[in-house]
Amino acid sequence: MSTVINEPAVDVVCLGVGYMSGVVATELARQNYKVVGITKGPYWDYVNDFSMTKYDEWGVGLGRKYDSPLPLQSATIRNNSSQFALPVRRYTMPIQYHALGHGVGGAAQHYGGTMGRQGPWGYQQQSLTASKYGSTFLAGINPQDDTHDWPLTYAQYEPYYVEWEKAHGLCGNYNGSPTNSSSDTNFPWMSTNYPLPPHPLTPIANMFSTAASALGYHPFPHVSALASQAYTNQYGVTVNPCVYDGYCGGPCDYACETGAKANAAYRTIPAAIKSGNFTLVTNGFIFRLDYNTTNNQVTAVRYYDAQGNIHVQPATVFFNGMWGYNMIRSYLLSGVGTPYQYNSGTGTGTGTIGRGLTNGYLPFKGTSVSGTLNIGGNSYPAGNGSGGSVDIYDLMDDNFDHTGLNFIGGSQVGMGSYMGGGPGNITFAGGASSGNMGSTFKATQQNKYLPTKTSVGSTPLAHDLPTFMNYIDLDPHYTDAYGDPVARITHEWTANTYNGATYLVNKVKAILTQMGASNVTVGSTVSPYSARNDWWGHHLRGGCRVGSDPSFAAYSGYNQLFLTATSGVNIFGAGEITNTTGDNIPSGTHAAGPQSYRAAEGIVKYLQNVGTSGVNYLAA
């Protein structure tokens, strides 16, 4: 018979055991604090759980057998506040492409491993845009604009980037900064290079690099979280290198059977367990935070175990490391923080929990350019999900003049990655069309693996800017398996994304031409809101932002939930990508990662002060 179980109190409880909690749990446990990590899924042993079962495109790509089960919890989606939100019932096209993770390591068990630092401009994009282009510029290009600066600058986050990259063994070779000095305000300069060298470049990547350099750009190898070499991190955790088997990224998003794909399970959590101060709870579904509104203290977290028992886990401090909308949902369900309220009449809003939602996965449609290179060869889709290519940062952030343009920021542009999707390449991504089913599909398969020409192209969409109209709240109609409301996502890509592509596509066209591509063609212009996208990715950003002011931000500069300029809650957070305020890079994870070190630092300060001085808020 199910019952309620009271667990012994500990110093810190981590909600979720993904990338961010992995860092916090490990940093705290190694400093002799008692830590509990709770995940709704299992602990995955990469050999015994993935070696023989991952080579299953149907089960992995369509069934999403390693991912968060939708019958347990889902979310609902709508484009604007006047619509009825519909639930995601399957992880396939249309609507939903990327799945949430499940268990230790979270979504990083199945991602492609793409990384890339956010540049200095991204942290101060509101103030830098206003000072350079005028205070009305953002409002002019982004209706109901809600863009804000981060609480810290790039230079302040840089040491945390280094720790994050060492912990997870990122591969690369700087980020294209011409000087790589702290005076470079355009490119993400590095005080320390990536700890592993980049993956071998493909011929197309080399062609792109040569062409980009000839045009005055600054190419650099794509940053990857898939270990290019055997590695040992600062916690002493040993890492196997990538075996380039091809079942890695692509539409299926395979797990890695050698542990080369960085995530908490194979980089940080082993050190936490080894410390003897960390307890891992698997198959524990968190449903509430016990919150005392009189002193703004969270006293415990409640979760169901697989047998339906309720566990009450008290702690001194909590760290919310759940995936974006689940982090937000946990606060809304528990009455923690100030929920965001959108006012469609004024086009503004109040509150912070759920506010400023953006989507790091850009729309499937946008103005694009393509061409053909006369290089063939064996294109058997081996390799991995984020290696082999070359990127440039020259066409993003404010690295070119936006005077007179109708967008801000831009796009990271890169080419030459491994195919990495696995033989067969299930073609459901993008939805059914004549090109991926029936006789046309069969015809294209005939010479697929020994082509004599290669298609190259790009859709250089700019980033999705925060607005008042995009947000997350609780759905009034749909519930999870336990009867609690699911998260409701209200989101439409902003005009900035489409307008950026329409302008930048000609810049990319010049690169393709320089590469010697033939038939370089710019596609039809896709205007903002002219075409509803029939897919939606899970790379949410914002919704629980960091900032210097609790009127718009949920978290302070130490990633502590704050209520006023002087009061906070004993909970910190840095959910995957959740805290960004809109950026141009493909990997919000890389920008979120340093915050987990920042939060760990804040939690230690909090633990050292609480009970002695009564401090419940850390000024950043």
């Binding site: 299992p42 602990y43 347990l72 700890p195 055997a230 040992t232």
Partner: protein, 202 residues
């Protein structure tokens, strides 16, 4: 905003549960911080060493994911390499190089009966980051009263230790060596690590 009604009744969701087992601490391959720091320091100090050298011993194995517990740093090199390393690490030298012969604590477990194992090397000792570092030049092995083997030679493989590229004695050589000595428990440990690195069920 108040919390929604708090459900106090335990509930069983009708969903599949993926069973899992959290590994015990002793199952996880994690290098201790003192040896990690010593390895990084050695790698940095010997980065421009012209002689062939590589991390050997248990430390060399754990860097490739073998579940062993090293207690010091071992470097294998040539006799000339030992002299060159002595110059580079003179500040932390504990014992000057000399030729030593030493019987190992463990016998070769071979038929018809176990045999003692003796090593001979041009050896010196250091203390690096507080850890014992032994450098063996032209290390040779003898089993029982058999002839001395040739000095151990190898093509090093590389591991990046927090960004420092460190040469390591290949696991294949260690496995052959252990197999010849009848140390099948150590062969098994290496096989497990190799399998985990090459997507094979352990």
């Amino acid at each position: 905003m108040p919390a929604l009604n708090l459900p106090n009744d335990p509930r069983l969701a009708s969903i599949p549960v993926i069973q899992s087992r959290v590994p015990n601490p002793e199952e996880l391959v994690v290098l201790s911080k003192p040896l990690l720091d010593a390895t990084i320091a050695a790698g940095e100090l010997l980065a421009d060493c012209s002689a062939k050298w590589a991390i050997g011993g248990d430390l060399g194995e754990i860097l490739f994911g073998v579940n062993v517990q090293p207690d010091h740093v071992t470097i294998l090199t040539t006799a000339n390499g030992c002299d060159e390393i002595n110059k580079k690490l003179a500040a932390v030298r504990v014992e000057a190089p000399r030729t030593i012969e030493r019987r190992l604590n463990r016998n070769a477990e071979i038929q018809p009966k176990p045999q003692p194992i003796t090593i001979k090397a041009y050896t010196s000792q250091f203390a690096i980051k507080g850890q014992k570092l032994e450098v063996h030049g032209d290390l040779q092995i003898r089993v029982g009263e058999w002839e001395w083997g040739d000095p151990i030679d190898y093509d090093p493989e590389y591991v990046y230790v927090v960004g420092v590229k460190v040469p390591v004695v290949p696991l294949g050589l260690k496995k052959d060596l252990y197999f010849g000595l009848g140390w099948l428990d150590r062969v098994k440990k290496i096989n497990e690590a190799v399998a985990r690195a090459h997507h094979k069920i352990v």
